[in-house]
Amino acid sequence: MSARDGGYDDWLDAVAESAGYYLECANGHGWLPPRRVCPDCGSRDLVEEPLPDAGEIATHTTVYVATPAFEEDAPYVTAVVHFGPVSITGMVRGVDPEAVEMGDVVGIDVGERETTGDRIVVFQPR
């Protein structure tokens, strides 16, 4: 069994329990863990804030040619979603890929890759 990735796996655990969070600096910039300093402003005063319940799709693409680890998942939609001050990349499920649009409101969860069973960030329409 491989070691957990500190920060990242803890964050996925929290998202899976509907208790997702992000790290916010003193100036309101949002990041995902692990972080010790805000790359935008240098603030080291990072505190966990609850992830907003829903976010907006900022951009998206349907991936037809996947890497081997996602072969059986393809085609799938990759999106970057703005959750307030933090943005997250994941797979959009539960909607026809052709119907996905920028500005769509989605929630976040943790799912499994069809190809490998590994955990993956999933966005579902709200």
């Binding site: 349907t62 040619v65 998942d73 990759t78 990349t89 994941g90």
Partner: protein, 388 residues
């Protein structure tokens, strides 16, 4: 401070050479560059070598000394890794060291062996230029990242797949006479639009191929060139490098490349030129949308106007601002760690008149090379000028 000169350059044929080892590819390019320069290997003070995925493709780390040995150079050798901008980063370090007088002759170059592991594994290897935890594990591929950027660009500035198809058509046409190019075939806008989707809105013809190949250049101090009577009319007069957050999601905009903006500003100031002075450019078109973002970062087109540059003919070889006369990464091919130096080689040959497309830019004095890593979390820009 006198600027370093490009004394010679060499490239292998770019293409599918799965059986050729990285060391053999680089030996061919490096020896060609030394021969072209007329500089003995004994005079080389250092090798700066670009390579991105050698561990994955060849199970080979520590490539600096391996590659020095391959070209018969007994000198300190260091590998540079900045994803697709690896060789550009090496060129930049060479320019700096030649300017200070710490070195007189630096061999810069790069090599990448990619097709031996197959398309699927190569796609996987390229993806690791992104953030593993938050992008790769989320399913983001390299074309996927540029698909995200293209959609953002279209939404912000307009443009469509057909505009991008013109970039591919142009670069394929440019490559027709490039004997080292991987894809020497003319394509039409319809071909590009009809090709299978890779990561929408990007299709197969929006993407550069997977390429084996190497490139090298001998950079020398101005003093060395004079002392040895070298014919080296092209100088690197400006260097710049910019950086950005690695993950696309951690940037305020997905439709521009601030690292390339910063590299451009620094390189132009260093050379004392502006975008209006640039006569020809080689830019990092790993995807068609990347060429659009590049020419805007270089200030050759305003934001939102790069998208129609190829369609309107401005960036074709007959246009006012020819871009990627080599065929670009799109048609010339993209051996990742070699690309930054292949661009320097192309521009040197265009400026000194020895490139097959040189007649299209016979009055060119100032050229610019734009090399970007990943989704441009790393970018280098170099200005080259020819003495009249």
């Amino acid at each position: 401070m006198l600027d370093p000169r490009v004394a010679g350059a060499g490239v292998t044929d770019f293409g599918e050479h799965p059986e050729r080892t990285g060391r053999d590819l680089f030996a061919e390019a490096g020896l060609a560059a030394l021969d072209d320069a007329g500089v003995p290997a004994d005079d080389v003070d250092a090798l700066y070598f670009g390579n991105f995925m050698g561990e994955l493709a060849e199970h080979q780390g520590h490539q600096g000394p391996l590659m020095a040995e391959a070209v018969g150079v007994d000198a300190p050798a260091t590998r540079f890794e900045a994803a697709c901008a690896s060789a550009g980063a090496g060129v930049r370090q060479a320019v700096k060291n030649l300017r200070t007088g710490e070195a007189d002759v630096i061999l810069v170059g790069g090599a990448e062996r990619m097709t031996n592991i197959g398309t699927a594994a190569a796609t996987d290897a390229l993806a690791i230029a992104a953030d593993d935890l938050y992008e790769v594990r989320a399913g983001m591929t390299f074309p996927g990242a540029y698909g995200l950027m293209a959609r953002s660009y279209f939404a912000e500035y307009g443009g469509n797949r057909e505009d991008l198809a013109y970039v591919a058509v142009k670069n394929h046409e440019h490559a027709l006479v490039n004997e080292h190019a991987q894809l020497r075939k003319e394509i039409t806008v319809e071909d590009a639009l009809d090709a299978p989707m890779v990561a929408d809105p990007l299709g197969l013809y929006d993407a550069c191929p997977i390429t084996d190949g190497a490139a090298a250049a001998v950079l020398v101090s101005d003093e060395y060139a004079d002392e040895h009577g070298l014919t080296a009319p092209v100088s690197i007069t400006g260097t710049g490098q910019g950086g950005d957050n690695l993950a696309l999601q951690d940037r305020p905009h997905f439709d521009q490349t601030p690292a390339a903006d910063a590299a451009t500003e620094e390189a132009y100031a260093d050379a004392g030129v502006g975008p209006a002075d640039v006569d020809v450019a080689e830019v990092h078109d790993c995807f068609t949308i990347a060429e659009v973002l590049a020419v805007e970062s270089l200030g050759l087109f305003k934001r939102g106007e790069g998208i129609t540059a190829a369609r309107e003919g401005v960036t074709t070889r007959h246009g006012e601002m020819p871009v990627n006369l080599s065929g670009g990464l799109k048609a010339k091919g993209h051996p990742v760690g070699a690309t930054g130096v292949a661009q320097i080689a192309t521009l040197t040959w265009l400026l000194d008149g020895s490139h097959p497309r040189a007649d299209d830019v016979s009055d060119a004095d100032v050229a610019v090379a734009h090399n970007a890593g990943g989704t441009a979390a790393s970018a280098t820009v170099h200005v080259l000028e020819v003495e009249q």
